[in-house]
Symmetry: C2
Subunit: 335 residues, 2 copies
Amino acid sequence: MQKKNSATIYDVAHRVGVSLATVSRVVNGNSNVRDSTKRKVLDAIEELGYHPNAVARGLASKKTTTIGVVMPDVTDVYYSELARGIDDVANMYHYDVLLTNTDEDPVRETMAVNNLASKQVDGIIFMGNELDHEVLNTISGVNAPVVLAGSVDSEKRLPSVNIDYVAAIKEAVGAVIKNGHDRVAIVTGPVEHAINGMHRLVGYKMALEEAQIDFDETLLFSTHQDYAAGLQVAERILATGATAVVTYDDEVAIGIMNYLRDHGKRIPEDFEIITSNDTKFTIVTRPQVTSIGQPKYDIGAVAMRMLTKLMNNEVIEVTQVKLPHTLERRGTTLN
Amino acid sequence: MQKKNSATIYDVAHRVGVSLATVSRVVNGNSNVRDSTKRKVLDAIEELGYHPNAVARGLASKKTTTIGVVMPDVTDVYYSELARGIDDVANMYHYDVLLTNTDEDPVRETMAVNNLASKQVDGIIFMGNELDHEVLNTISGVNAPVVLAGSVDSEKRLPSVNIDYVAAIKEAVGAVIKNGHDRVAIVTGPVEHAINGMHRLVGYKMALEEAQIDFDETLLFSTHQDYAAGLQVAERILATGATAVVTYDDEVAIGIMNYLRDHGKRIPEDFEIITSNDTKFTIVTRPQVTSIGQPKYDIGAVAMRMLTKLMNNEVIEVTQVKLPHTLERRGTTLN
DNA sequence: TTGAAAGCGCTAACAA
DNA sequence: TTGTTAGCGCTTTCAA
């Protein structure tokens, strides 16, 4: 059971008695080939078990039919859903996906982008909350189109696909305010991720302003992105006298919810919770968690679709795409 | 801000006044270069912003420093954790990861493997419950080492990294039997995935036998892999008079749990539940779900480590690696 | 320590 | 409709 040293295009050409060019033509579906020779070539390909070498092809054509995806963590349900959307449409257009995890470390993000560039990817989709200035620079230096998915570039230099975060947060905060809460806490990610936090804060403040509620800095929290962090921050939130919270992460939200219930709070009667990512986590708990609804899969899919156009040198009309969001009312909010 | 047509190795050589070979040597850390010329080359590389073209390199050296990862679905928390383990050690050894989702469709699995082969990956890590015979064949025809992660090849032809599924299920079932249950249901994946189901069944039957409980076919269930499926199957399970269940999927387990509680069952007093994947889902619910504990990240990491050895033509002592599993006792089982 | 030169397997003008 | 012929950018003997 030994591995055959795979046949090359030369072997096929030789076998049929035609030139390399002809074989190349039939392999690439070029029409300028007589049917009869096409047949013969196809047969030879079959017999020899010839599979084109994509690397050689890439070198010669300067197209690798491979795109790079840079993301914080495959393990993160939010991003992995975007990734799935990306992958599905990538396949649809016959691109393969080179995946890199960065944990949102700017150093690794920069390395990832450079590495992808040296691998000659035809395009890159970048995900990550914060768009570090240096990362942005190396991205714009890359000789391939890049589109951001679920991430914002405050300078709007790069094409991107998102929801309107500001509006979404404003609506979420507005919803609990409307239910009578005037001390609503907000929890965002690690402070390093300035942009992410900023966007949320803007929406938060807009909602307060609209309800004529004074901004209280003590109602601001930032945590790591996991269940335990939610458990921990909940105590501090409780201490502020807040009666509602809007969070950036679903696991954090559930951590908060469980802590509060353990400490005598009824959800949603005594305390309301809204989270942001609408992952599966929000539906397996009791009560289910109210969340901003995001078309996660579509964000990835649309971003990838956009990238295919860019790789094709097509002109893009709208480069800053905002997909619609919703508010999925579930058990952690009243009505 | 225009994209420079990136410099080639030729440009560097020309600039310094040395040959391509010399530049290649310093780029690849070959020691046979005089320090002074090395300096000059490095400087030129810096000045020109030269980045080696990995595609050309791949063609010439027949090594792409890229591996392929074939998996059911990035979105699946279980597999994505394996993927993270794979990616981390892949990076450690300077490999990039080409990712493909297959949804466990044999046709797509076959295509994925072939595609990866034509992209000349140096190795492949394959994940997927069932190892279809045809898939197995195309895998063994590929001219690159392949290792299975979290997947079983009943013929044991391929190197693999797993836990001992049979033993794990046996322990889980044994645990609830020990707690006094003699009617324990077991739910496995879609029947198409024969192997997966089989393995679990073997462990299940062993536990019954050890407790001298007769096997009852009506206690066998198979469902799709999501929360809603759990909700649905729960009703049927209840109808059998079962008082405990062991499931293959965490979301399904939670669906079952929530359904049962809605129908008056106290968990774990009236009904015990054990699941298999120990994902984050098991800890965000109340009660938390008892689960077989699997070193998911490590399964991926070890598989990848194994692959690096194979790609290096090193000899592997043990090809069928079984990593240790545990039983994480939480709130859905007594004591 | 360095260079010359032959590929790696394919694409893409350009000719015929 | 088909073939010839340069490359694509790099690695790798083999010599020097």
